[in-house]
């Protein structure tokens, strides 16, 4: 029984074909995750800067209005 099992598993194992490009996918997948994280971080930073600009421009407007109104 033990020997039969060994033989069976060996045949099954040997018959399995590993898809072409799987290694590339594994290595690329890892990089893609890093790129995705970098893209999210950069986007968040850009949005933060834009929000700051919007905030400041609103403040400038009110300052300019305060000066010019009288």
């Amino acid at each position: 029984m033990d020997e039969e099992l060994r033989e069976f598993f060996k045949k099954e194992y040997d018959a399995i074909e590993v898809p072409h490009g799987l290694k590339k996918q594994i290595l690329k997948g890892k990089n893609q995750k890093i790129y995705l994280m970098a893209a999210v971080s950069v986007s968040a930073f850009v949005i933060f800067i834009l929000m700051l600009f919007a905030e400041f421009s609103a403040q400038f407007d009110s300052v300019i209005n305060a000066i010019t109104l009288p």
Partner: protein
């Protein structure tokens, strides 16, 4: 350094991991997904890997856990499905009988028989991979063989 180490691990083990994943899931896409997930986890946790087990047994542990997670998600873990594409001409009857019997086994039994009889893993290693006490390995192995014998007797 870590990048190179990771690349080396992938190169050495990705085929073996894919084959184990395929034998557990019987599906090419699932096996490929599991393999990718395994190596993503390896990459994430490589720094914290303390070497309490070999890389191979650690990879097997992640693979069986990922397969378990997939089965749980799909609720199909009751029976292992073995595809019929691996037919051979030699000892067809005997081989098919064994295949049919293994087909009726639960996944846990199949898993432990594979690790013991094909991978020649020690009980301690199997315990680590399956996350069970070493004493349970012996009893689970015995039960798996008994179940298999019973299935073969019923079939034949």
């Amino acid at each position: 350094m870590r990048e190179e180490e990771f690349k080396k691990i992938v190169e050495e083990h990705y085929k073996d991991i894919y084959k184990l994943a395929f034998l557990l899931t019987k599906n090419r896409d699932d096996a490929a997904d599991i393999t990718q997930e395994v190596f993503l986890k390896v990459k994430e946790h490589l720094k914290s890997f303390r070497g309490e087990a070999s890389i191979k047994t650690w990879l097997y542990r992640i693979t069986t856990n990922e397969a378990k997670r997939l089965f749980k998600k799909r609720e199909t873990e009751k029976h292992v499905k073995i595809p019929l594409l691996f037919r051979t001409n030699r000892d067809v009857e005997k081989y098919d009988k064994l295949k049919e019997a293994l087909n009726k086994l639960d996944r846990e039994s199949y898993e432990i028989l594979y690790l013991k009889f094909f991978k020649n893993m020690k009980e301690k290693e199997i315990a680590f991979i399956l996350n069970i006490p070493p004493g349970t390995v012996k009893s689970r192995l015995h039960t798996a063989k008994e179940k298999l014998k019973k299935e073969m007797q019923q079939d034949g």
